[in-house]
């Protein structure tokens, strides 16, 4: 236990980075995922095709590769600089990679949510004279969101766990700290592992419970 207690401040700092990565990427993925969903159900074949291709590519590429691509490819080779500070720059590159990957899953969840909305809803909206954008934004998407709150919670939990892979971009979050601590305190591997594992349980368990409660509370009564 000594290692966990003496290193408590650095551990909380590392987990704070995990939380920041997850929170920023979650907001980004929600926005991009919603936009992709709207594109995938749009009347224009170009939009549907573009969004469909994007989702297929992002969903089937390993996240490790996506993050290496943003870190080495976009960051180092294309010279995209988002901040003069290296640590901040790496943070934003990791966020872009996580968002690019997670938004594909948000899009898939939302699209299945749209399938749960009865046809009559959109038909009624159209008969009132609403066009595609208004039907989607005012009638279909709000109900779709309420139907997929539990899956979105699962995606958020997966995203929180996936932030550990930001290590390949050089963001010092929980997994980096765990590896460093194992090297320093080689005799306490078990305690260190269970300590960090507990940290993730503490982050993910309330998320799961909250989203489960929200999904029951906000479910559309039909």
């Amino acid at each position: 236990m000594d290692a966990l207690l003496t290193e408590w401040p650095t551990i909380t700092l590392a987990f704070w980075m995990t939380v920041k990565l997850a929170a920023v990427s979650a907001i980004g993925s929600l926005v991009l995922g919603t936009a992709l969903t709207a594109m995938r159900v749009a009347p224009l074949a170009t939009l549907r095709g573009a969004a469909g291709t994007y989702v297929t590519v992002a969903r089937n590429t390993p996240l490790t590769l996506v993050l290496l691509f943003t870190g080495l490819g976009v960051g180092a080779n294309l010279g995209v600089e988002l901040s003069a500070d290296i640590a901040t720059n790496n943070f934003w590159l990791a966020t872009i990679g996580l968002t690019a990957y997670t938004s594909a899953f948000v899009c898939e969840a939302l699209r299945s949510g749209i399938n749960t909305v009865p046809v009559g809803q959109a038909e009624a909206a159209r008969s009132l004279g609403l066009g595609f954008v208004k039907t989607l934004a005012l009638i279909t998407l709000p109900q779709a969101f309420r139907a997929v709150i539990a899956p979105l919670g699962s995606i958020l939990i997966a995203l929180t766990k996936n932030t550990t892979i930001a290590l390949v971009v050089g963001v010092s979050e929980a997994s980096v700290r765990m590896r460093e601590m194992i090297e320093t305190y080689g005799d306490q591997v078990l305690q260190i592992f269970f300590g960090f594992a507990l940290g993730f349980v503490v982050l993910c368990l309330p998320t799961g419970l909250l989203f489960g409660w929200l999904s029951r509370r906000l479910a559309v009564a039909r």
Binding site: T46, R126, T140, V201
Partner: protein
């Protein structure tokens, strides 16, 4: 799947408007592509010497094929062991004995909640303290893939068993089967069949996750591509694109398999 109910079937004017809008959007997408192209050009990413190595036979035989073999080896070992792990723990969680059910549930929930990378680190760096010897990177990766994906598969199979009509187990007991026989001969086969598409989808996740091996130095496709090819020809971006393409092709084939299994199953049920 069509979402035609979200908008009216366009009339002559709508068709014209959609054509114009479609052209504008196609132009905008081309514009984005052009910006990317220029950026690549500025940094010399279109240089032939960055792309042609990907076509050379020796690059394939020294980097890509051995890397692919490493990825597939870890994935196949992971699939087999995770499948076994899933079967055992699904059966254990459905046990009538509390002392079997509760620990099995705790194990499954724990492994599902911990990031896979931490599990791999635990096996890789912790093995010396735990078992007194170092394990290979391969063993650490397969351990992580097995316990994480095995736990997810256990939950999938358990959901499958719970979704079966109660008459199945009642009938099995009525003809005099023992508990283990009911599970082994009646419930698990049906649950597996019903859940096979979901299990195959989980195998796609497992295959993608095997790329984490690179972090502990396991010799797999992403590692050979980005640390092997790119180190020799300084072509990170072309190498990453090729490797992503290989993963996408494999995963789409698995996806197709899951769909085919699903279609075959629903055809059989009719």
């Amino acid at each position: 799947m069509s979402y035609a109910n979200l908008y009216e079937v366009p009339g002559p004017r709508g068709v014209r408007r959609n054509r114009v809008l479609g052209a504008v959007i196609a132009l905008a997408l081309l514009g984005v592509a052009y910006v990317v192209y220029v950026r690549f050009d500025d940094k010399g990413q279109w240089a032939a010497e960055k792309w042609t190595p990907l076509l050379r036979a020796d690059v394939w035989t020294t980097f890509i094929l051995p890397g692919l073999a490493g990825t597939l080896l870890a994935a196949v070992a992971g699939v087999v062991l995770a499948g076994l792990f899933g079967l055992v723990f699904a059966a254990a969680r459905l046990s009538e004995h509390r002392w079997v059910r509760v620990p099995a549930g705790a194990v499954v929930e724990f492994f599902r909640a911990v990031p896979l990378l931490l599990l791999i680190f635990f096996a890789f760096f912790g093995s010396y303290v735990l078992i007194g010897g170092n394990v290979s990177a391969f063993a650490a990766v397969v351990f992580g893939l097995t316990v994480y994906n095995g736990s997810v598969i256990a939950e999938i199979i358990r959901a499958g068993v719970l979704s079966l009509p109660r008459g199945q187990s009642e009938a099995a007991y009525a003809v005099g089967m023992r508990k283990s026989q009911v599970m082994r001969l009646v419930l698990l086969p049906q649950a597996l069949r019903a859940m096979l598409p979901a299990v195959v989808s989980q195998f796609v996740v497992l295959l993608k996750d095997s790329a984490l091996g690179l972090i502990v130095g396991y010799d797999e496709l992403v590692d050979r591509g980005l640390n092997g090819i790119a180190a020799n020809f300084s072509n990170v971006i072309p190498a990453a694109i090729l490797i992503a393409a290989i993963f996408i092709v494999i995963n789409l084939s698995l996806d197709r398999l899951a769909h085919w299994l699903n279609d075959r199953r629903s055809a059989g049920a009719r």
